[in-house]
């Protein structure tokens, strides 16, 4: 099999995924009734990326051959799909949807920054513990669960940062801290995987060659098992880190260039109060 054949044939149109994605779109257009082209674009891109991540050769490669591609798949779910879906939700719908007290209180708990940060970190950290990761690889059902958990926790994570409802968004300083700590966690995990000895995830060291492309990968692409694990760690460490990084810098610039005069956020120094000096 050549790379070309692989890209053309290794598509797995798993019905549940296709139906799920179609349902996501249908629900969106039926209930949300978006009007802004920008939001529709975000949402649809999100769904398309989701579909691509789960049915394209990415999925075949990540299920059987390459840890690094599996990492790409997870990063797509966590760092691309979830943020895009959230960006696709317009404020008016969010406000309507959260109008019901129960849902509103659920939102308050789930998007509490401590809760959402911890949930996302736990999901990412625990699923990369070799025990759980290998178990998920071996059992398809658990694997699906893994992906669902990533999607849910990532949505919780990004909601307070990206939601279109300004009142629900974290302040600039809190956002910076929130994302900085997340990227720190992410980097540490990535660094550990990069520098760990080979064999954290044995399924990728000696893959079952179901598609007959192992030689292609090892020789033509030149990705050895060692390089694969390193690359996977590096992907988690750097490109993912850069996404957090860009959002942090964007947040700071947007906040710094805010020109409104907000006297409530400025403070009295002790000179004006004059109490400590005495």
């Amino acid at each position: 099999m050549t790379t070309r054949d692989l890209l053309l044939t290794a598509w797995d149109w798993e019905p549940s995924i296709v139906i799920g994605c179609a349902a996501l779109l249908a629900l969106y257009f039926y209930f949300v009734r978006p009007r802004s082209l920008w939001r529709i674009l975000c949402y649809c891109t999100g769904v398309v990326v989701l579909l691509l991540a789960l049915v394209s050769p990415i999925d075949a490669l990540s299920d059987h051959y390459l840890f690094s591609v599996h990492m790409i798949q997870h990063l797509l779910l966590i760092l691309v799909v979830s943020p895009l879906l959230i960006l696709g939700v317009p404020a008016d719908f969010a406000v309507r949807f959260l109008g019901r007290p129960r849902i509103a209180s659920a939102e308050r708990v789930l998007s509490n920054p401590f809760v959402s940060w911890t949930a996302a970190a736990l999901a990412l950290g625990l699923w990369h513990v070799p025990l759980f990761y290998n178990f998920a690889l071996a059992h398809e059902g658990v694997h699906v669960l893994e992906h669902l958990i990533f999607l849910v926790t990532a949505t919780m994570f990004w909601w307070p940062v990206l939601t279109s409802v300004p009142e629900l968004r974290l302040g600039a300083g809190a956002t910076v801290l929130y994302l900085f700590l997340a990227s720190l966690f992410n980097s540490i995990l990535g660094i550990i995987i990069t520098f760990a000895p080979l064999g954290l995830y044995p399924a990728y060291v000696h893959p079952h060659d179901v598609l007959g492309i192992l030689l292609l990968i090892r020789n033509q692409w030149g990705i050895s098992a060692v390089a694969d694990q390193q690359l996977g760690g590096l992907l988690m460490w750097v490109p993912a880190g850069l996404i957090y990084f860009s959002i942090i810098v964007g947040t700071v610039i947007r906040w710094q260039s805010g020109s409104e005069i907000d006297l409530t956020e400025t403070q009295d120094s002790y000179i004006a109060r004059g109490e400590h000096a005495a």
Binding site: F195, E265, Q267
Partner: protein
């Protein structure tokens, strides 16, 4: 910067300091992880550490975080007597932990294991030693706090801020031990 930060220069300082100290420890712990398994013949985590016994002392140390928190709460409620009692309890628990560490070291010295014996010993004594040093400094801080409370400290807001800063430091010392314990004693001996 949220408005509640205004008076909290002690708190800002100690939080930034804790951040700084965590990075210091991160490099020592990384050295342990990096060199884990490189002392197959000499003493290593498997044949030297006793997670059970140290686990007991660890629980005592973590319990001291609880008593510290209670002491802080009492001060905030102007219950100075309780504050002093809980502070003393914290110091006793911290002291017990240090004594436990002393016994552990003593046992290792008795077996001829010292910091230069092999890579395990070097990384182990460095990490736990620096942690022990931090506990010791924490105890001195608490001792000062105890002395000050006897002198009527804790009525003014800025004084309570100082107390809170001290308690943050103590919680940090305990939190670092969580990392040290689980990496050196649990992961290291698995």
């Amino acid at each position: 910067m949220p408005a509640e930060f205004i008076h909290h220069k002690n708190r800002v300082l100690i939080l930034a300091f804790i951040f700084s100290e965590s990075i210091f420890f991160a490099f020592l712990i990384t050295a342990f992880v990096l060199y884990h398994g490189r002392s197959p013949n000499g003493p290593n985590a498997h044949n030297t550490l006793d997670p059970l016994k140290t686990g007991m002392y660890s629980i005592i140390l973590w319990a001291s975080s609880l008593t510290m928190w209670l002491s802080e709460k009492s001060m905030m409620n102007f219950r100075m007597d309780r504050c002093k009692r809980w502070l003393e309890a914290t110091m006793i628990l911290g002291g017990i932990f240090l004594i436990g560490q002393g016994f552990e070291y003593h046992g290792m010295f008795a077996k001829g294991i010292s910091i230069g014996t092999d890579l395990f010993a070097t990384t182990f004594f460095s990490t736990t030693g620096f942690h022990g040093l931090h506990v010791f400094i924490g105890l001195i801080v608490l001792l000062i706090m105890r002395g000050l409370t006897s002198a009527g400290f804790g009525q003014e807001e800025y004084q309570r801020e100082g107390f809170i800063a001290a308690s943050y430091y103590w919680h940090f010392v305990d939190a670092i031990w969580v990392a040290v314990f689980f990496i050196l004693y649990v992961w290291g001996t698995r």
